[in-house]
């Protein structure tokens, strides 16, 4: 069969910088081609090239570039427009902002119909049909709403509906499930599956191997603008030929990866002095043995904590509802839950950055919530936080050195610029795998992984007993995420800190946690050891979560 889309040796340059090098691909009718690769590897540029949408600054070269019979290298603007929307439907990467926020959802979906000459009267009915087909409940209502009034999942469906409006031969879906909760993610994937089953060809772009594995017949692995490996899905994912693909696969945290390292970086070696400096408080503190959290007294105890907020409409909403847990020294407690389920709020209460509306928090058995800040301040160094967005948590005026020095307790050297302090800053940087030279860099000039390391170094500066990690890796690529997770594991082993680890990624939580807490709408619906919760879920919600995990191989029991 002839390929619907063919690209031979496609290269794209922006203002003279080539970002895509000799990419070749072919899409057969009715098949699904998956493109995987880390951020910036050129996935989206490839997709946009297939629609001639790379903008005026792009220079596109190829031996051959054809889509549904149109030669894209020679096509006029009008020909390209005829192609877009009608022959190829494109679902952009950023589902949350890809609908014009000022126009009604219906108008957005009707746009391709209007552009391609469907009479006005016919449009409305078609819009409702499309929405219904995309699995949107109450399509008449939704069509009248604004994108901001729709949840992320509904917005993604609306986008897909718009892309399918004219029944195109090809659907290109760029990261259609990122930023969505697992359950919603599963629904979107089912929708795509249904389209595939109906005979439509799909190009599915994702950095998530599990997602691709579920749908794609063939996979294209990209790195730095090149294709490093290409072939049938099962072959590429189970017997990867390229080392990069292998690394990518190994870096995915899951139940299987528990206790093993994710990255190929060597484990961190901390000298005794480093360990002392970084405050391994209990001399010879044993790293918590797997599955056997010490029966020692908990360092942090959260008892029946609730938090209520008054919304802009003046009504109160309970965001955290009667949550209780205890964190033992050296232990990692994972918290999972969908967006808005109250994870971050719980973390803020644990950090005493927010006061609970009811219940109390104990730190080392002493009162921690409900105190005057003055009485709490000197104990704050015992509990540190590593945020999801490290950049936002750095003072924009300071360089890395100053940022970390600011966290070093006053006893170490006098002024923030003193010798002793800068020495300490260097030590901390080295402890997280950076070098002393990074101290003079501004956080803006660092990569995401490096920023997260700086945030960890800052958190360690006070020699805490507890680290609260709020989605510390969800902004990172798999391989970088792997490095950071390994680093955190190494540090915990060496220092015996207790971790409160928050993530919406079940794999990550399963990989790092001793015990897991599942939250839904502010309530703890289930808690237990990681394996108990994930392999033998008791609560319906947990079951639903686990079932929604897209990667069948990842769910296999060890």
């Amino acid at each position: 069969m002839n390929a619907l889309i063919t690209a031979d040796s496609l290269s794209v340059a922006f203002d003279g910088d080539e970002v895509l090098h000799d990419v070749s691909l072919a899409l057969r009718p009715g098949s699904c081609l998956g493109i995987v690769g880390e951020s910036g590897s050129g996935k989206s540029v490839t997709a946009r090239s297939l629609l001639g949408l790379n903008g005026e600054r792009a220079e596109v070269r190829a031996d051959r570039l054809e889509a549904t019979g149109t030669d894209l290298l020679r096509a006029t603007d009008a020909q390209l427009r005829a192609l877009r929307g009608r022959r190829i439907g494109y679902v952009l990467q950023d589902a949350l902002v890809s609908l014009d926020p000022l126009r009604r959802v219906g108008a957005e979906i009707a746009e391709p119909l209007r552009v391609h000459g469907v009479p006005r009267r016919a449009r409305e009915g078609r819009v409702h049909e499309l929405l219904a087909a995309a699995g949107v409940p109450e399509p008449e209502l939704r069509a009248r709403q604004l994108p901001s009034e729709l949840s992320g999942g509904l917005r993604q469906r609306a986008l897909i509906a718009a892309a399918l409006a004219l029944d195109p031969d090809v659907l290109i879906a760029d990261e259609p499930t990122t930023a969505l909760d697992v359950t919603v993610q599963a629904q979107i994937l089912s929708l795509l599956e249904a389209n595939l089953a109906a005979g439509r060809a799909i190009i599915l772009i994702s950095h998530d191997l599990a997602v691709v594995e579920r749908l794609a017949d063939e996979v294209l692995v990209m790195k730095d603008g090149r294709v490093v490996e290409q072939g049938p899905t099962s072959q590429v994912l189970s017997r990867p030929a390229d080392p990069y693909t292998r690394r990518l696969l190994a870096a995915v945290p899951s139940a299987r990866s528990r206790g093993s390292r994710l990255s190929d970086a060597p484990p961190l070696e901390l000298s005794a002095r480093d360990r002392e400096l970084l405050g391994a408080r209990r001399a010879g503190a044993e790293p918590a043995a797997d599955g056997a959290p010490a029966a020692k007294a908990p360092v942090l105890k959260v008892e029946h904590v609730s938090k209520r907020f008054r919304g802009p409409d003046g009504r109160e909403r309970t965001v955290v509802d009667d949550v209780s847990f205890a964190l033992a020294p050296g232990e990692t407690l994972g918290i999972v839950g969908e967006s808005g389920s109250g994870k971050s709020t719980t973390a803020r209460i644990a950090l005493a950055l927010a006061e609970p509306s009811a219940g109390r928090v104990l730190l080392d058995g002493e009162a921690w919530s409900g105190l005057r800040e003055r009485r709490r301040r000197y104990r704050r160094r015992r509990i540190s936080v590593v945020p999801q967005d490290p950049l936002g948590s750095f003072d924009p005026r300071w360089d890395v050195g100053r940022t970390i020095a600011d966290a070093i307790p006053a006893e170490v050297g006098g002024s923030s610029r003193s010798e002793a302090r800068s020495h300490r800053v260097s030590e901390l940087l080295e402890a997280v795998g950076l070098t002393a030279a990074h101290a003079r860099r501004h956080p803006l000039t660092l990569s995401g992984g490096q920023r997260q390391r700086v945030a960890i170094a800052r958190a360690l500066a006070t020699s805490p007993e507890i680290l609260v990690l709020d989605e510390p890796v969800s902004a990172l690529d798999v391989s970088i995420q792997a490095q950071v997770l390994d680093l955190l594991g190494d540090l915990q082993k060496a220092l015996g800190t207790a971790h409160l680890f928050i993530s919406h990624d079940l794999g990550v939580v399963h990989h790092v946690s001793d015990r897991v807490l599942v939250m839904q709408a502010g309530r703890v619906v289930e808690q237990g050891t990681a394996d108990e919760v994930f392999f033998r879920p008791r609560h319906d919600y947990t079951r639903e979560l686990v079932a929604a995990l897209p990667h069948p191989t990842l769910q296999e029991t060890a």
Binding site: D15, R376, S384, V385, D389, P396, R397
Partner: protein
């Protein structure tokens, strides 16, 4: 009253707004030309303000009755006025007065605004609510109106002119300071500082204030230009410094009468103000861009 800095929008470039990266590359050369031109203009005006004698050929107050209304020529590059005074010398000597009024007004506006803004940003809910109200009320007196009321009450003089313009520009700054303080106060990095156990005083002085005031420096550059324009507008209406003192606004007022006969009397002080404020704007934007690409995201 051109719509410069105190527009509410510019007044609240809160930290959370989305980054507006501009394509810089193609325009860099042009920008630097504009930057240097602006810098030279500002430097010249500053020189005129500090040592007018160096630039001005004549005494700005000395009349020469035989030479009234001479058109611009080699002897009088900007021409002469009705009493035969050299307009160029008057423009040069006027720089000091006008700049002093502009700076003074900006200082008054800023001090008031910072007090209000900090009160609103740092005080409790009640303080903030009242400050917001006060700012809103001040906003309801559009610029010059507030200035005119003050002049109606206290009479026209350089001092009232300065205070009037200062007070008139205050709400814009105040809104900005307040917004900025609130944005910084709610930022993640302030929360991090709290989580580190720093004292409130330390967080205020080391983190909140420096970050909240950072955009102010740029705004002052823009604000001085704006204050000068406002002051000149008052002068133009005859409500500022009184003749024969050389001051740009007062010169504009005097020149208006003879506009058909001696256009240069109004044109040159006016264009000086335009070029000077434009230069300040250009400089301010460069500073802003430098600040944006440097420290913030």
């Amino acid at each position: 009253m051109t719509a410069l800095a105190t527009a509410p929008e510019t007044a609240a470039p809160a930290a959370g707004s989305r980054p507006r990266t501009r394509r810089t590359r193609p325009a860099t050369a042009l920008r630097s030309v504009s930057f240097w031109l602006a810098a030279v203009v500002v430097a010249l005006v500053l020189l005129a303000a500090i040592a007018p004698g160096l630039l001005a050929p004549q005494d700005p107050l000395e009349i020469s009755l035989g030479e009234s209304f001479d058109a611009p020529s080699a002897a009088h590059v900007f021409g002469t006025d009705q009493s035969g005074r050299d307009v160029f010398s008057r423009v040069v000597h006027g720089a000091g007065q006008s700049l002093a009024i502009g700076l003074g007004a900006t200082a008054i506006g800023l001090v008031g605004a910072i007090a209000l803004g900090l009160l609103g940003g740092l005080g409790g809910r009640l303080a903030d609510a009242s400050v917001t109200r006060v700012i809103e009320v001040l906003y309801a007196f559009p610029g010059i109106l507030l200035a005119l009321i003050l002049i109606a009450v206290y009479g026209s003089s350089a001092l009232t002119q300065m205070v009037a313009v200062g007070v008139a520009t205050m709400p814009g700054y105040a809104r900005m300071v307040r917004g900025q303080v609130l944005a910084v106060k709610g930022s993640l990095y302030v929360e991090s500082a709290r989580a580190l156990g720093h004292s409130p005083a330390r967080i205020l002085t080391r983190t909140i204030l420096p970050n909240a005031f950072r955009p102010l420096t740029v705004l002052v550059t823009l604000g001085v230009g704006q204050a000068i324009v406002w002051a000149a507008a008052l002068g133009f209406l005859g409500m500022g410094v009184q003749p024969p003192t050389a001051e740009w606004g007062a010169m504009l007022n005097a020149g208006r009468t003879y506009i058909q006969q001696a256009w240069w009397m109004d044109f040159f002080p006016g264009i000086t103000i335009v070029v000077f404020t434009l230069s300040l704007t250009v400089l301010g934007r460069h500073l802003q861009r430098a600040a944006d690409s440097g420290a913030s995201r």
